[in-house]
Every structure is written in structure tokens, then in C-alpha cells.
């Protein structure tokens, strides 16, 4: 039985001032992760085989490469995130494994080599057939389904990192003393007003 005194302590002592700890904790966790990345041994995937992991690393950087605003998917740890999610959500496993296999078999049939050994032009030829569902041929339907879901997971993994969130210029997740609605620039951009 929880004593009344304990419960009171819990319920009555949740002051407004305490909610900064999550940010502090987040910062601490991020710092720890950075240190770990800098000092740790090479990442060993738990779900992906070594060959699959090579393909995953290649593919995520083709989907989200480095550009002038931010780094690539591998720069921010998307392959590690994907490996985690495959273990965390086992229902994803077969489609992921099978999709990667589909891609390599497609490359074998067309170029007699697996995706990671293909030239840039060959990779482009394969991906262009599956990256735009509305334009894809019916015989590529399975590749399309795989690529849709692989691209989604790559994007989700990338844009939920600190780098990704700053790149998107998301400015929330903070305490705001007063809600003033939208700034004038945003109103003007949409052509609306508070009048």
C-alpha cells in the first residue's frame, strides 16, 4: 500500500519549476552519445548482417546526402537507428530483409553485381525505377513498396536528430511565457491576419 504521506509528496510537489530537468537530461544524454561516438569501437549491428549493413549505409546516404545545410544520414547515425528499430519493432524485419534482398537481386539480374558494387549510373538506373511510385512500372511494385518504407524510415531517423531538427528550423519544444500567436512574417506569408 502506498502511504498517504508518499502519495501527497508525489501529487502536491510537482511544481512548475521542475520541468527543465528533461532538457538538462536530454543535453546530458546527447553529450554522452557524442562521447561514445567519438571513442567507441565500430558499431556492430544486431539485426543487419555485415553485407546488409553495407547496403543500408550506402542507401541512406543516397537518400539523404550531405549538402550545404547539414550532414548525411550516416553522419547523424541513421543506420544505427535503423538497426535498433528492427529489433525494437520485429514486425518490420521480414519486409526490410526481403526488400534489401530484392534490390540486390534486381542489380544482379541487370548488372551481374550487387548494389554496393554498382557504378553511380547503375545505381541511379535501379533507383529511378522505384523511387517515384506513380511513374513506376507494375513489375517494380515490390521494389517501390520497399523503397517507400525505407525512405520513410531514413527520413524519420534523420529529421529526429538534433542536426535534422535544427536544419528544419523547428523552434518549439520550450517553455513560452506568453502565447502571442503567429509572428507578422508568418501571417503575411499565408496572407491571413488576426483582424
Amino acid at each position: 500500500m502506498t502511504s498517504r504521506r508518499d502519495v501527497l509528496k508525489i501529487l502536491l510537489a510537482a511544481p512548475a519549476a521542475t520541468f527543465t530537468w528533461t532538457e538538462a537530461e536530454a543535453a546530458q544524454a546527447a553529450a554522452a552519445a557524442r562521447t561514445a561516438r567519438a571513442t567507441a569501437k565500430p558499431f556492430v549491428p544486431k539485426f543487419f548482417t555485415a553485407n546488409e549493413y553495407k547496403l543500408v549505409r550506402t542507401l541512406v546516404d543516397i537518400i539523404i546526402p550531405k549538402d550545404e545545410r547539414s550532414g548525411s544520414a550516416t553522419d547523424v547515425g541513421v543506420p544505427e537507428f535503423m538497426d535498433f528499430m528492427m529489433i525494437d519493432q520485429p514486425t518490420r524485419q521480414v519486409a526490410m530483409r526481403g526488400g534489401l534482398a530484392w534490390l540486390d537481386v534486381d542489380c544482379q539480374q541487370r548488372f551481374d553485381k550487387i548494389f554496393v558494387d554498382c557504378t553511380a549510373a547503375e545505381r541511379t538506373a535501379v533507383l529511378d525505377d522505384i523511387a517515384w511510385p506513380a511513374k513506376a512500372k507494375p513489375e517494380h511494385a515490390h521494389g517501390v513498396a520497399f523503397f517507400n518504407s525505407f525512405r520513410d524510415l531514413t527520413a524519420g531517423g534523420f529529421w529526429t536528430t538534433k542536426v535534422g531538427i535544427e536544419d528544419l528550423q523547428y523552434l518549439g519544444n520550450r517553455s513560452v511565457a506568453r502565447w502571442n500567436g503567429c509572428p507578422p512574417e508568418a501571417l503575411k506569408k499565408l496572407g491571413v491576419s488576426y483582424e
Partner: protein, 564 residues
């Protein structure tokens, strides 16, 4: 097995600590009663357990759902449509998904805070058009209680003078987000009423609770108690009286009765030790959630009550309803390349659309309201997803990366929430063979939508699409077909299940009287959604609270008068 019998006789034993249980505990302890509260879930401590202001990258799964937190790992709710060791079944061909939150405060920890009063017509639908049933009480009888919870708990909104969406005692609503202004402009063009939302989130301090800090994360449990939950608003004053005892991880098995057929306590399992317990009370209040309370009653069989307690009518479990629901989103070109700014705001939408049409001119008899979403929310696992559904059509590489930025925040979402008419084919009963891990027989659900609901949901989709087109946008999904039942959410999915222990004046057709007191057992009451006769398109929590306050005051008055 030895049953541990608590010698104390409490004035009241309450099962459940959510909106209904919390309110009963507050009113009854303040009236002088000694109260024992049983909660099937664990203790929840906002300071330790709230994930408010956590970034997605603070977790390796970036906020994705886990079996124990099916709205995402940062959500406050411990529970979901499936619980380990606590099954339920559906009749062949039927589907009902039952959401259960197992924690102190129940679903009040993570609900949407949409706080709408039922309107005068909602209490007398059968009189108006012959469908459904009338409540044994009127809006005017419940109005003082709505007023009281408005004052005590607090909510924002705007007084509009609408006939069946009553005004309240509102704090000022927050200004709309800019895309909400865009939606409102389209709604105005289409003559759809679009007004300030009504959310139990403080925009001004109230009773030592500070105003909202606009992080937009009410669902993660508010560490500053600026929104309503039972543990932040109702339980502290109850505990402060010194008359409330709470037991968590206590799964109720049965309401016990004495030789006179009066309730005399509740037996429960201590989930942490596995021990059987019994606690005695002069009055028993069930607030375990509509279906869980029905289950408890049906499982409380005795020689006096062979069909379960409060069930001589056979009505317990019958006329279960949920809110109808479906959603659509639209891509709005004008919202592309948005101006970066913080538009988290007060969690849910700042505007909503109450029912605005006359059903007499339509081919379905009940209305719905529309909830809004969209804009530049905190990035999550869905961000950048579904690019093939945008004009970009898909892609990869620097173009794709840039498209993600440009399309971020460029969609709006609409969810319809409508009234289902109670029907004989939608109910729960005790499954004849299946028990949970403690040997308690489980519920079996039966569920059927009628054409009323399907036509209403079709109309929702037509409306969403009209608004999206009016905004110059494109719907992100095709109009669902009749064969797809217009994409109506399965029963239970909107988590507004109420009504399977209905109140009424006739003991032959209702389990409870107009004070939510069992016809068959005068010291047994319900203060959750079980007593609801109908399920209007107004989210149920505010009415659970008002009804629970009314029932609890009745109990206190009867007790003082010596008739209980």
C-alpha cells in the same frame, strides 16, 4: 487461497482513479467521508515519469510506440488496446478495440483535453426524433455541475450562444495558429462554424496552478499541472483532507454483497504480490471505466443476483457506444516554405468546428464536430515520410532532402468525431470460457455500425475534402468507398466508449436511476461513462466529471440525511 481481509470499514470504496473516481474522491472526502480508492494501475509521478520537453533524439527509438505505451514512448499513458495478461475477445465477425490505461489517474493523464458540454437536445433525442433514448435528467439539471467544474478545473473557450453547444465559464482562448486562420477562412467561405476550441488547459493561473507554457505536449503529462488530469487537480485536495487511502496495482475482482443484498465491499488482487484482498465499505462507487465497471458488475454474481449485480434488467453491457471517427489530411501549397516560428501552442487545435448543419435536411440523423491539426509540429518519426503522396512524387538525394524541408509543416489534418446511435447489436458480455491472468472472466464484445454512422462518416470525408480544396490544397488520400465503410475507425478506436450501464427511470430497461444509483442495490453507484444513455459528438470527459460530481453530492446528502 487465503484472502487478506481489511478490518477497517470505509464509508466509501471507489474503484478507479480517473475522471469519475477522482471527482468522487474529492467530493466525498471533502464532505467528511473516509474513502478507500482502488486503482488497477501503477503510481504515476509527474516529476519522475513525465517526458515533457524531451527531444526525440533523447531516445534511440525517437518516440515510437512500445507495447506498454501505444501512443508513443513519450506519451504519459501506460496502456493500450492490448494489455499483457488481460485479454478480451470479440464475437466472430465483430471487432471492438478496447483501450485501457493502467495508472493513477487513468486516461486523464493523456487525453486530448477537449472539454465540451452536452447540449439540451442531447438529453432528449428520442423525444425529438424517435432514435436512441432520452436521459432521465435534463441539461438544466446538469448545468450547475458543468459550471462548477468549469470554475474549479478551468478551461478556455469562447461564448458563442450556439443552441446545442452550451457556453461555459471560459478563460480566454489562445490566438489561433496561422494555418488555423487559413482553415477558418475556408470554413467561413463554406458556411462551416469554426470557433475557439474548448480545452481544459489554463491560459490564466487558477487555484495555485500556473498558466500553460505552450509546449504543445499535454499528452506527455504536464509537469506544471496547467491542464486537467485527475492526479493534478482532483486527488490532491482529496488527499489533503486526510480521509483518502489509495491502493495502486489493485485489480478489482468482484463487488461483494451482504445477506440483505447491499454492497459491503470489493475484493481485489494485489498485482504486485498476487494476494487476494477484500476491503469493506458502506457504499461502493464504481469508476473503473464503462466496460470495466460493466465487467465487474457482471462478474459479481451471488444467489441474490445470479445475473450479476445491478442487472435484474439484463441491461448491463448493452447499448455500448463509441464516437464515430475518421480522418483526412491535405497538402496546402500556400503552407510550403513556411516562415520558421514556434507554433506548438496549447497542445491541441486552438479552433474547432462544432456541428453546424440540420440533420433533418440530411440522410443521417446525428451530427459530428471536426478537430484540426497540422503545421510545424515537433519533428517525429513521420517527418519527411510519405513523400510519394506529395507533388514531389517520391525521389531521393539532395532534391529529396530539400523537399523534406520545403514540405515540412505544409499539411493540415481533419478528424471527424460524431454521434453513434446506441443499437442492440453493440454490447459487451462475459466471455463464457476466457479468463485473465488472475482468473477473472473477461469481456466479449459485439459491434455493428448502422447506416446512420456510415453515412455520417461519408459526409465527414466530403467536408474535409471541400475544406482542403477551398484552401487550394490536395487531399493526401483518395475518398474512401462504401466497401471500405468510408474508413470509419473500428469501434473503440476513438476511446470514447460509454453507456453499457445505463441510467433511466424504468428499472426494467436501465441499471441505474437518475442519480446513477443501482435500482437493485441502493448503496452502489457509478461515476464513469457507464451511465450514459447516449454518446453525443461532444467528448465525454466533461460530462463524466459533471455527472460524477452530481452523483457524489447526492451520496453525501443522502448519507447526511441518514437514508444511506
Amino acid at each position: 487461497m487465503q484472502i487478506i481481509r481489511n478490518r477497517t470499514v470505509y464509508d466509501v470504496v471507489i474503484v478507479g482513479s480517473g475522471a469519475g473516481g477522482g471527482m468522487a474522491a474529492k467530493v466525498l472526502t471533502e464532505a467528511g467521508a473516509s474513502v478507500m480508492m482502488l486503482e488497477a494501475g501503477a503510481m504515476f509521478d509527474t516529476r519522475r515519469d513525465s517526458k515533457m520537453l524531451a527531444w526525440p533524439y533523447s531516445s534511440p527509438r525517437r518516440g515510437a510506440a512500445i507495447p506498454e505505451r501505444q501512443f508513443g514512448e513519450f506519451d504519459a499513458g501506460w496502456g493500450g488496446w492490448t494489455l499483457e495478461g488481460e485479454p478480451y475477445t470479440s464475437a466472430p465477425g465483430d471487432r471492438f478495440d478496447w483501450f485501457r490505461t493502467r495508472m493513477l489517474g487513468g486516461r486523464t493523464n493523456h487525453w486530448g483535453r477537449i472539454s465540451l458540454r452536452f447540449g439540451p437536445d442531447d438529453f432528449r433525442r428520442k423525444s425529438l426524433d424517435g432514435l436512441g433514448d432520452d436521459w432521465p435528467i435534463t441539461y438544466d439539471e446538469l448545468k450547475p455541475y458543468y459550471d462548477s467544474i468549469d470554475r474549479h478545473i478551468g478551461l478556455f473557450g469562447s461564448n458563442e450562444g450556439l443552441p446545442n453547444d452550451p457556453d461555459g465559464i471560459f478563460q480566454p482562448p489562445p490566438k489561433p495558429r496561422c494555418y488555423e486562420l487559413l482553415i477558418k477562412r475556408a470554413a467561413d467561405k463554406l458556411n462551416i462554424t469554426c470557433i475557439a476550441n474548448r480545452l481544459s488547459i489554463l491560459t490564466q493561473p487558477l487555484n495555485d496552478r500556473p498558466a500553460c507554457h505552450y509546449c504543445g505536449q499535454c499528452g506527455r503529462s504536464c509537469a506544471s499541472h496547467s491542464n486537467f488530469s485527475s492526479p493534478s487537480v482532483l486527488l490532491p485536495p482529496a488527499l489533503a483532507t486526510g480521509r483518502l487511502t489509495m491502493v495502486v496495482n489493485a485489480m478489482a475482482r468482484e463487488v461483494t454483497v451482504d445477506e440483505n443484498g447491499l454492497a459491503n465491499g470489493v475484493s481485489y488482487i494485489d498485482k504486485t504480490s498476487g494476494r487476494e484482498n477484500h476491503v469493506r465499505g458502506r457504499i461502493v462507487v464504481l469508476a473503473a471505466s464503462a466496460c470495466e465497471s460493466a465487467r465487474l458488475l457482471l462478474n459479481s454474481k451471488s444467489s441474490k443476483f445470479p445475473h450479476g449485480l445491478a442487472n435484474s434488467s439484463g441491461i448491463v453491457g448493452k447499448y455500448l457506444t463509441d464516437t464515430t471517427g475518421t480522418s483526412a489530411s491535405g497538402f496546402i501549397p500556400a503552407m510550403m516554405d513556411g516562415h520558421p516560428h514556434n507554433e506548438d501552442g496549447a497542445s491541441g487545435a486552438h479552433l474547432f468546428m462544432p456541428w453546424w448543419l440540420d440533420n433533418k435536411k440530411l440522410d443521417f440523423p446525428r451530427g459530428y464536430h471536426i478537430e484540426l491539426g497540422g503545421g510545424r509540429r515537433m519533428p517525429g518519426l513521420g517527418t519527411g515520410g510519405g513523400m510519394h503522396r506529395y507533388p514531389a512524387g517520391g525521389g531521393y538525394g539532395t532534391q529529396f532532402k530539400d523537399d523534406c524541408r520545403r514540405y515540412y509543416g505544409s499539411t493540415v489534418g481533419f478528424s471527424g468525431r460524431g454521434e453513434m446511435i446506441p443499437n442492440e447489436n453493440s454490447y459487451c458480455e462475459i466471455d463464457p470460457t476466457v479468463v485473465d491472468r488472475w482468473g477473472i472472466p473477461v469481456l466479449r464484445f459485439h459491434w455493428k455500425w448502422s447506416d446512420y454512422e456510415l453515412k455520417q462518416v461519408k459526409h465527414m470525408h466530403e467536408t474535409f475534402r471541400a475544406i482542403i480544396h477551398e484552401m487550394g490544397g490536395t487531399p493526401m488520400s483518395a475518398m474512401p468507398t462504401a466497401a471500405q465503410q468510408y474508413d470509419i475507425a473500428p469501434g473503440g478506436r476513438i476511446i470514447h466508449e460509454v453507456g453499457c450501464v445505463r441510467m433511466g427511470n424504468d428499472p426494467k430497461t436501465s441499471a441505474l436511476n437518475s442519480n446513477c444509483q443501482a435500482h437493485d442495490c441502493r448503496n452502489l453507484f457509478l461515476t464513469d461513462g457507464g451511465p450514459f444513455v447516449t454518446n453525443p459528438d461532444k467528448n465525454v470527459t466533461w460530462t463524466i466529471l459533471a455527472l460524477a460530481m452530481r452523483t457524489s453530492e447526492y451520496i453525501a446528502n443522502q448519507r447526511k440525511a441518514g437514508s444511506l
